[in-house]
């Protein structure tokens, strides 16, 4: 490196250099100072709004108060679903100084089992600061007060009063109302509502609770509190009360609903009762059922397993999702179709114990001799209807069936329906790529073969025959046209007359005549084969293989008001299993006391009301003893 000529280094030079460099350093310091002032100005003036917001959101903690759910009431205002006060105990981790002692006390006082203790310990580990950990929800007054009196010795415990969903009639409304439950992660993802993760908040999970969720949910209240960084509440700022959800008014008659549910006894089945004036559904029952109260409290796994294990399928709503061959209950419909297609109802056909079609002989249940149309309905003569079906073909009858609501999916609140099949030649071609045959017509006309319907459709069909109008079933006050059916009065009269004879003449359900003066019920029984006749006669043997018992009916005969459709699974026959149920609840509708009398006598034989029986069955199941799967035959 070539030496550069530099000035000689002297004390004076060093002094000048020092002054220069000190000024450089001082200048740099000043520059940093100006930069800091600028930065501070930027943060506190330009970004001020943003940081004010952030400091407020730090300071103020919004606690949501879950809203009280709206009630679900029946046509008279009786609650089918309401709210009751729910007492709960939470733990505040930061106030919990002597964890072992407090938890031990809680365990003895509330009789918490090992599972519960494990959950509490796990939640305590995950929770931080002042975030509450639930110890027990839905406590009894006794448990709650036992904690309250010991509150001073148990630091860290926070008692709370909230609301829980309550279903006064329990299992009777299980399938109709559905139930509520805590939202799951998926539902939270979808809703993105902070309320969904608020402890104690429940949403409708099934049935009407789910369908009317938006109406029922209400508006949450909010409590604004000032909190420290660790979550400790310093003071309350303001509280906005919650707004209870709206009330849903149903067409259901709570008394009837409960009566029908109880009257089903130990049977598995469904019954729907419709008001013939306007299509109001008065009862909508599927039994056995679950107790929606159990679901709302968070059902235990063993209780759920018990429900699932039951071969009577209490988790399935049979009223809309049970499909059954309707059997002879479709004969009044076939009669209407026949008259509409020009058959004279007084024309007679002779039953010789069956009907010959080509080389096959279709059997009748008896040998009825010469019958006109009403008496064929009364006797439920298959031969007569085989003859009609062979003469007209089922394509002539299927449209009538559809006009009466069979095979139709109704716009009905809260129900998912399986709407079954009313077959015709086009349907068979589409489905199986086969020609419709005469024997298909014969099978269909007696409600077997491809035909399947649900109990709701049976009730609608009956209500339409009874009223002569195209009644549309409804659970809430929706306006439907309900225009008259395009059938001749003569055709409807024949069907009604036949149904009257079934109960009040010499028909299949004479034993189910109403025990009332001046009020009569008309109806039609049905017995649906579960298996082919080759494997048994359907009247005995294993429950699973017995015939279904069906009944459709309306009352009073002369001025129809109530129509119903009932299916008793494996009830062995409509006259035996289903018609007596209809008789009793129809009696109840016209004479409540008489109806209750009949029910209480029966219930005593079945082992008490529904809840008692369910509790006992569950206890028995839990203890491993198998409860009797064979239901007693109601009479």
């Amino acid at each position: 490196m070539p030496k550069k000529k530099s000035p000689p280094i002297t004390e004076a030079w060093r002094g000048i250099t020092f002054t220069r460099r000190a000024l450089v350093v001082g200048g740099a310091q000043a520059a940093v100072g100006v930069a800091l002032a600028a930065r501070m100005t930027y943060i506190s003036v330009i970004d001020n709004d943003r940081y004010v917001l952030e400091s407020e959101s730090n300071r103020v903690n919004l606690t949501l108060i879950p809203p009280r759910r709206g009630w679900i009431v029946d046509r008279h205002g009786t609650a089918l679903a309401n709210n009751r006060v729910s007492l709960r105990i939470d733990l505040i981790p930061d106030r919990l100084h002597n964890k072992e002692m407090v938890l031990g006390q809680l365990q003895t006082l509330l009789q918490l089992d090992g599972d519960a203790m494990e959950r509490i310990n796990r939640d305590l580990k995950a929770a931080s600061g002042f975030q509450p950990v639930a110890v027990k929800e839905d406590m009894t007054e006794a448990e709650y007060s036992s904690i309250l009196v010991r509150l001073p010795e148990l630091p860290g415990i926070a008692p709370q009063r909230g609301f829980a969903r309550n279903y006064p009639t329990g299992a009777a409304v299980g399938h109709l109302i559905g139930y509520v439950g805590a939202p799951n992660a998926e539902e939270y993802q979808k809703a993105r509502d902070p309320l969904y993760i608020t402890p104690g908040y429940k949403i409708g999970k099934d049935g009407l609770e789910k369908y009317f969720q938006e109406m029922l949910k209400g508006k949450p209240g909010a409590r604004r509190v000032e909190v420290t960084a660790r979550g400790k509440v310093v003071r309350d700022l303001s509280t906005q009360p919650d707004v209870q959800g709206k009330t849903v008014h149903l067409t259901i008659d709570a008394g009837l609903q409960e009566y029908v549910a109880r009257r089903m006894g130990r049977e598995s089945g469904a019954a729907v009762v419709i008001d013939c004036h306007n299509g109001d559904i008065l009862a909508f029952v599927s039994m056995p059922s679950f107790d929606p109260n159990s679901f709302s409290d968070g059902i235990s796994t063993s209780e759920y397993a018990w429900l699932r294990a039951d071969d009577h399928q209490p988790l399935i709503n049979k009223a809309t999702r049970g499909l059954y061959p309707p059997g002879s209950t479709l004969k009044p419909m076939a009669a209407i179709a026949a008259v509409e297609h020009g058959v004279d109802p007084s024309e007679r056909h002779t039953c010789i114990g069956g009907y010959r079609l080509g080389n096959r002989f279709f059997r009748c249940l008896g040998t009825h001799g010469s019958l006109d149309m009403p008496s064929a309905i009364m006797k439920s003569c298959n031969s007569y209807f085989y003859w009609l079906a062979h003469r007209l073909g089922y394509d002539a009858m299927a449209p009538t069936a559809r006009l009466l609501g069979l095979g139709e999916e109704f716009r009905l609140a809260g129900s998912s329906q399986r709407y079954g099949t009313i077959p015709d030649s086009a349907w068979k071609m589409r489905k199986y790529d086969q020609q419709w045959s005469a024997s298909d017509s014969l099978n269909a006309v007696i409600g077997q073969g491809y035909v399947s319907v649900n109990p709701l459709q049976l009730a609608v069909m009956t209500a339409r025959i009874a009223s002569g109008r195209r009644l549309y079933p409804r659970l809430i006050n929706r306006e439907f046209q309900n225009e008259p059916l395009p059938f001749s009065p003569e055709a409807l009269a024949v069907a009604r007359q036949g149904m009257n004879l079934v109960v009040n003449g010499a028909g299949t359900a004479v034993r189910s005549r109403l025990p009332l003066d001046g009020i009569t019920m008309a109806g039609k029984t049905g017995t649906a084969q579960v298996r082919g006749l080759g494997t048994g006669n359907g009247k005995s043997g294993t429950w699973k293989f017995r015939d279904h018992g069906l009944f459709v009916g309306f009352a009073p005969v002369d001025n129809p008001r109530y129509a119903t459709g009932i299916v008793i699974e494996h009830g062995m026959g409509g006259s035996r299993a289903a018609a007596p149920v209809a008789r009793d609840f129809m009696t109840y509708l016209f004479d409540r006391e008489k109806g209750m009398e009949a029910l209480e006598t029966l219930e005593a034989g079945w082992g008490g009301p529904i809840k008692d029986r369910m509790d006992r069955d569950y206890a028995a199941w839990k203890s491993g003893a198998s409860s009797d799967p064979e239901p007693g035959v109601p009479q």
Binding site: S6, I9, T10, E11, A12, W13, R14, G15, T17, F18, T19, R21, A22, L23, V25, G26, Q29, A30, V32, G33, L36, A37, R39, M40, T41, I43, S44, V45, D47, N48, R50, Y51, V52, E54, S55, E56, N58, R59, E226, V227, T228, A229, R230, V234
Partner: protein
Amino acid sequence: MIPVPPAIQRIPWKLIAILGGITGFGLLVLYSAAGGNWSPWAWQQGVRFLVFLSAALVIGRLPLRIFEDFAYIAYIGVLVLLLAVELLGFVGGGSQRWLNLGFINLQPSELMKVAIVVALARFYAQLPPGNTRTFTALWPALVMIGLPAALVMLQPDLGTALAISIGGVVVMFAAGLPFWWFGSTAAAGIAALPILFSFLHDYQQKRVLIFLDPESDPLGAGYHISQSKIAIGSGGIGGKGFLNGSQSHLDYLPEGHTDFIFATMAEEWGLIGGLALLFGFFLLLRWSTRVALKGRTRFGQLTAAGLTMTIFFYIAINLMMVMGLAPVVGIPLPLFSYGGSSMLTIMTCVGIILAIENDSKTGSRRFH
């Protein structure tokens, strides 16, 4: 005119006003940070200030000669203390910084900030002018800075190590070492940043990374910076008012009475309070810079310049940190933050600078 006795005239009233103003403002903030209480911080800090101020005034009356004479001994003594910390010091807050002497927890790295400046000033004052641009001027200084900086890094205390280095480097710069040495070292240093980074402790590395992207860890290490910016930003121009800061009172601001006290102040006093404090520090640094420029001896000039830088470094790094311009390093705000060690250091610096000022007033001969 009332004659003022010379003894009173000699007292640096202007300086006391500046120091008292800054510290008094700090006491108000400490009072608020304790939720409107003189204890536990404000009262003790006030007493401490009076004690250290008296000490500084006493130091300021000492002849400058003493500092020059004892410069090396002091430096070696503090270096030994630093070594002792490595061997015997107790661990607090994850690092080993303090030496328990029974009555006081001494932090020798604080003393080193002063000792290194004084020792280097003496070295360059004695160095013949002709050697200023030779290697002889460089290597002893590098060793003198390198040893304590390395020891402090071992504690580990990155902030103090940087403070020691910067004080020393400014003395070297002021001593007139070739400009390009500093320029090329700075360039090399920037190039070597990744390597230096790898020498840092995990938590220090994390702080640097989070400083570069605070949002990556809003609840963890980035929490300090975020909450500090929220406190300053939400104060606005006029602040939320005395005793009304929610960030500090509700514990959102960690260390609201020590390292992050500026944020505590800015929340309640706003931009006006912040600029006032900056102005106070400006007056203090202007005073010490003027002392350096007017220094009678070369030792005095270099010492004053170095100590000014030491004070400035505290202020600048702390403020940059709380405003999110620098990573979180544990450096308090001089006179403002609660704590004895930093106040001891600052007051020692002030005392020595005062001695230099007195020396240039009383001395008869300037050397150039």
